[in-house]
């Protein structure tokens, strides 16, 4: 999943002002405001109506960038895609252990390199087409087409020859380690035993896509075709897309062709792209939403105090960090980057701004991932930082060009940026400007290296240090810093997979991570906690460290106590 767009802000707030202007913004904003206000009027709210009719109202953060599993990269997209599609293997919503998905069972060869998956006979696409092993071969072929611009292509690299194929060294897909032995048997050959491979299969970048639909609306490797639009999209998940109104909502309905349709309890899920954490929290309290993935930092204390069962705080495998564009002249010097990293007072940010139990981060990989506790020499040390900056040619910050922090529009990111801006000003005496952009524009700027310092978040796609560290490979689609170190690549791609023992493997990761932090193309800020607001009527909502919802398990049942709206 990845880019967390996390807490937000935007158009909704304009409702407070736009009444002075006659324009279209007004109409939308007023509508939103009315939606919020109407809940106070005593009429039935979304939650109680939804509880009766099995409709889950889900506050989903940002408008999804795309619903194409081979193009999307964000958390909001992830939540919708997992409702619409499914991989070979699922994860248990509590323990994250592998569970049968489209594959009923699988064999792993003794050397850990060959996986044989046995697919369900009754697997179907949402339009009723049979769904079989050939779909995977075609989908994975598509995902590896360079023209598609799949930023997650590297997720395939554990598969034999996938990297070579993606980089054009071989042109025959037959040589890539994926084969349909018959309609219901798929064999995957890996380069090395990869302990996290089964976890990868539950990631949307390895999800199958419906060939006929994609080819109907364009070429297989064409971006942005209409196949993901409402009425077109065909998936294999528990739900199917029934409506997608930009900036309004995405509605998915139960998929009758799903192999496990009998155990799906929800009839519908409505995803609302509401970016403003304050608005979304208000809507939640007014009973308009069953779920909100963000809680405004200043409200967490109040929820904790009254022991509100709606508040779910859980460890979250994700890191909030700043990317540095290492091609920008004043940021090319690693001493400057180190100095910036050393003058962020992370304790204060966690305690005074975030307030949700977040842990200050001194490494990119969250400590404790698969028993990995990386060592780090990064610490808050303004004096050493000033020395480094002076060595780099900016004594007392003199002559340091004005540099910009880019963040996607959200009050949460703004607060952190404002605090860091002031810390750099205070400790290094350098002027930093802030620039916010809307989510899609922001993603474009970051991907195009059209930024100087950029806010970022990375949420684990699977539980392994590799998931955080292989982001910064020279050609990693999510690197986006311009930083490249062949020695680092060698450690991640060659040394780690060939490690004999778990300890040795972690040791190699630690060496790579030390290298990364020494060069500091990225500045870790904090380790996420997932802060969710979940209406008590939502049952089977399980917290897990990937914060992955399992929609097929959830159901709605109003308890006597909370059947009324909590106004």
């Amino acid at each position: 999943m990845s880019y967390s767009s996390a807490p937000k802000i935007t158009k909704a707030n304009s409702a407070d002002y736009s009444f002075l202007r006659a324009n279209s913004v007004k109409a939308v904003a007023t509508l939103l405001l009315l939606t919020v206000l109407s809940s106070c009027g005593g009429g039935e709210n979304n939650v109680s109506a939804g509880n009766r009719s099995g409709i889950l109202h889900w506050g989903n953060g940002t408008e999804p960038q795309s619903l194409d599993p081979h193009i999307a990269t964000g958390v909001p997209e992830h939540k919708i895609i997992v409702a619409l599609m499914e991989g070979l293997v699922l994860k248990d919503s509590k323990t994250l252990e592998p569970r049968p998905g489209v594959a009923t069972s699988w064999d792993i060869s003794e050397d850990g390199r060959v996986y044989t998956f046995y697919l369900r006979e009754n697997a179907r696409w949402s339009n009723g087409d049979p769904h079989n092993a050939h779909d995977y071969v075609w989908s994975w072929w598509r995902a590896l087409q360079p023209a598609l611009g799949n930023l997650y292509a590297y997720m395939y690299f554990p598969i034999a020859n996938a990297k070579e194929y993606y980089e054009g060294e071989i042109t025959d897909f037959e040589e890539v380690g994926v084969k349909a032995l018959d309609d219901h048997t798929l064999r995957v050959t890996l380069n090395n035993p990869t302990p996290y491979f089964l976890q990868l299969l539950d990631h949307y970048s390895l999800f199958p896509v419906h060939r006929a639909t994609i080819e109907k609306f364009g070429d297989a490797d064409q971006r942005g075709t209409r196949w993901t639009y409402e009425g077109n999209l065909v998936g294999n998940g528990a739900f199917q897309l029934s409506e997608w109104k930009i900036n309004r909502r995405v509605v998915v309905e139960r998929n009758p062709h799903y192999w496990d349709a009998g155990s799906v309890k929800l009839n519908k899920i409505i995803f609302y792209p509401i970016e403003n954490a304050v608005t979304v929290e208000r809507m939640f309290r007014a009973g308009q939403l069953h779920y909100s993935g963000t809680v405004p930092a200043d409200k967490i204390a109040a929820y904790m105090e009254r022991k509100d069962p709606a508040l779910h705080i859980a460890p979250y495998l994700g890191v909030y960090f700043y990317r540095i564009n290492t091609r920008v002249p004043q940021l090319q010097d690693k001493r400057v980057r180190r100095a910036l990293g050393m003058t962020i007072d992370r304790d204060k940010i966690s305690q005074r701004i975030l307030k949700g139990g977040q842990i200050p981060a001194y490494t990119i990989t969250p400590p404790g991932t698969m028993g990995y506790y990386p060592k780090s020499d990064l610490a808050f040390n303004p004096e050493a930082a000033r020395r480094l900056l002076a060595e780099a040619g900016y004594p007392n910050g003199e002559g340091f060009p004005a540099t910009e922090i880019l963040y996607n529009t959200s009050e949460g990111h703004r607060k952190i940026a404002v605090a860091i801006q002031q810390m750099w000003k205070k400790h290094l005496n350098i002027d930093v400007k802030l620039l916010n952009q809307e989510w899609k524009v922001y993603l474009n700027s970051i991907t195009g290296l059209d930024y100087e310092i950029g806010r970022a978040g990375w949420i684990g796609d699977y539980v392994d240090p590799n998931n955080f560290l292989d982001m910064f490979l020279c050609n990693g689609g999510n690197n986006r810093t311009g930083w490249c170190n062949p020695e680092y690549d060698q450690l991640i791609l060659k040394a780690a997979p060939e490690a004999k023992t778990h300890t040795e493997r972690l040791e190699i990761f630690n060496r790579a991570e030390t290298m990364l932090l020494d060069d500091m193309p990225v500045i870790p800020v904090y380790i996420y906690t997932s802060n969710n607001l979940v209406n008590p009527s939502v049952k089977n909502f399980n917290d897990n460290i990937l914060n992955q919802p399992s929609f097929k398990e959830m159901y709605l049942k109003a308890d006597q106590a909370d059947s009324g709206a909590k106004n």
């Binding site: 304050v278 200043d298 940010i349 801006q421």
Partner: protein, 292 residues
């Protein structure tokens, strides 16, 4: 009667002097003027009289209610609210006045010319206004900002450049009704040029509605600025304006109400002051009211 004696007779009460006399009897308007003057003076002097730096943070302090050290409390970064409001006033008042001035100049000239010349010129000019109306103004401003870059002065101009439309329509309708009146015909027959007539006779007669509309425009552009800043197109933190302070205040109004109340009071006060003053000026400047 020759021209000189005619001028002498009229000398006693010029429009402006007359207006001032009337205005000084209107206490509400004077109060508004006083408040505005006070706010302007404070804004100008802010860098010297502000109790703290506007970006000076004290994270350990965090948001605190009003106290002796911080009269209006502090925000979540521990920044002094009084200071923030004072600095915010600089931005808000500047954007209010400059953008409104731009809107006023373009709008009045456009409307006066269209209304006075009439015919095909009027039709073309007003269709341009209609087209601009139809454009979503946000997109237009965003476009201007993207083309010319992010710069506060440009922001003011850009807002002004989209705010003049209503003004142009109001002025035009006024002018249409005025230009057929006898005193304008008299001016024509005296051989005055078109431009002189617009300047000397038409525009002063439209002042009433223009002033009222102006006083409404100022607060609306202040809020527009907040909205744009919010989208990342206006001013950026740590700078602030009243609109932005209110915007941030709304987010935490349940936990830290003072972050909303004080900027809110300041903006409302400005708004009231502008309206009182505007009302007073309209009464005072209307040349049609009798001189007594």
């Amino acid at each position: 009667m020759d021209q000189i004696s005619l001028q002498q007779q009229e000398q006693g009460t010029s429009l402006w002097k007359d207006a001032w006399i009337k205005l000084s009897k209107n206490y509400l308007a004077l109060f508004g003027l006083g408040i505005l003057a006070l706010l302007c003076v404070i804004s100008i002097l802010t860098p010297w009289i502000a109790p703290y730096g506007y970006e000076e943070q004290n994270l350990m302090l965090g948001a605190t209610a009003p106290s002796l050290e911080h009269w209006l409390g502090t925000d979540i970064f521990g920044r002094d609210m009084l200071t923030r409001i004072m600095y915010g006033g600089r931005v808000s008042l500047t954007v209010g006045f400059i953008a409104t001035a731009v809107a006023l100049i373009i709008g009045v000239l456009w409307g006066a010319i269209a209304g006075f010349v009439g015919g095909r010129v009027d039709a073309v000019m007003m269709r341009i206004v209609d087209i601009m109306y139809a454009l979503p103004f946000m997109i237009f401003i965003v476009l201007l900002m993207v083309v010319f870059g992010r710069n506060i002065l440009l922001l003011f101009l850009a807002i002004g450049a989209v705010e003049w439309l209503t003004m142009a329509r109001i002025v035009r309708s006024q002018v249409m009704s005025l230009r057929k009146q006898e005193f304008v015909e008299a001016a024509h027959s005296l051989g005055l040029s078109q431009w002189t007539i617009i300047r000397r006779h038409i525009i002063p007669n439209t002042l009433g509605p223009v002033i009222v509309y102006t006083t409404l425009t100022i607060p609306s552009v202040m809020l527009l600025e907040a909205f744009l800043s919010f989208l990342g197109l206006g001013i950026q933190p740590p700078q602030s304006s009243w609109g932005l302070l209110i915007n941030y205040g709304v987010e935490t109004m349940e936990e830290y109400p003072w972050l909303l109340i004080f900027p809110g009071i300041t903006l409302s006060l400005t708004l009231f002051a502008l309206n009182f003053l505007g009302d007073g000026l309209r009464d005072a400047l209307d040349p049609r009211t009798s001189k007594d």
